[in-house]
Amino acid sequence: MKSSSKIIEQVDEQLVSLAQQGDKHAYNLLVIKYQHKIIHLVNRYINDASEAQDIAQDTFIKAYRDLGNFRGDARFYTWLYRIAINTTKNYLVSRYKKHIAEAISDEDAEIYAANQQSQTFNTPEQQVLNQEILDAIYLAIESLPEDMRMAITLREIEGMSYEDIAQIMKCPSGTVRSRIFRAREAIDNKIKPLLDHGEC
């Protein structure tokens, strides 16, 4: 099987190519694929869920407008990431937070984000709900059987591939795939009621 990054690139290439020819359906698929990453990225600097989503939306609209100039020299997500960072910077500047905006560049954005305290501008209700969901996720992981807990931890927190996890756990990669899926299902069953209850 081809490497994960190669598959991601191929899927993106095809979708971008179709979108460049005016296929909005293809662009919608790219939005579906990357919306969480972009919103999460923006949220590191904005810390307001509603504003972060507005900026993420602007990012996707700007990217669509500029898609004709995307030549595939970099990966689509890298290109989108830069647009998101620039859109966020512009937003912060416009809000007279220039001292924060200057701290963000393509190179040190990750470091900056990592050093930021979780200063949040969400409503108290949102903060409570988000923390409650985060706690529920950790609780769900703790209650998983050992093999599933190890598989999901190595995948999500350590970022390992199925093959690497299979080597560590001394089992076929198909088993790893199944364990990770079942772990996700178990976690999803715990958080879905919370999300449905606090739908925003």
């Binding site: 979708l15 190519s17 460049q20 579906i32 919306q35 989503q53 407008r65 199925y162 879905k192």
Partner: protein
């Protein structure tokens, strides 16, 4: 929603699907809100575990983006003007190289021709012309004598001039 579809979503998050499967799944998700919701939640959990912070994403985020795009001009493929510009640059470079090559070859040929002419001239002038004539005269004395000794009959009457060879020495003393 089937377990198989959920498993595909899980694999998709881990880039474990091949290109065709991934595209197929993404297309299916567009028309399946329940499956899209599952993708949202799986993704949210994944991001939360990596960032240790949970961010809730509106389930209709993608729809909102697409609604806003409805008024946007169509995204165009890479501008052909730039591709043409590259082509023109390439042609200009090729033409410049061709001119330089021709000039260099021309100069090289001129230099070679000059050398050949010079060598030929030098070879031709190794013996002066008068020296060659002298040599010829020395080696062909008879021819000269015939001309020199011509005396027309009746020369004494002064009507016919006699011709005398231009030799410095009498012919008889040459050999």
């Amino acid at each position: 929603m089937t377990t198989e579809l959920k498993q595909k979503i899980s694999q998709f998050l881990d880039a474990d699907l091949n290109t065709a499967e991934a595209l197929h799944l993404l297309t299916a998700l567009q028309h399946d809100n329940e499956a899209l919701g599952t993708l949202h939640r799986y993704n949210a959990v994944s991001q939360a575990l990596q960032a240790k912070q949970f961010t809730l994403v509106d389930s209709d985020f993608a729809s909102s983006v697409m609604n806003n795009l409805a008024d946007q001009p169509r995204a165009l493929a890479a501008k052909p003007v730039l591709a043409y510009g590259r082509y023109v640059k390439f042609l200009a470079l090729a033409a410049s190289l061709a001119v330089i090559t021709v000039l260099l070859l021309h100069n090289f040929n001129q230099a070679n021709s000059a050398t050949v002419v010079q060598v030929a001239t030098q070879q031709g002038s190794t013996e002066p012309l008068h020296k060659q004539i002298d040599d010829y005269i020395h080696t062909h004395p008879t021819a000269i004598n015939l001309a020199a000794d011509v005396e027309v009959e009746g020369g004494d009457n002064g009507l016919h001039p006699s011709m005398t060879a231009f030799d410095e020495e009498p012919m008889g003393q040459q050999k």
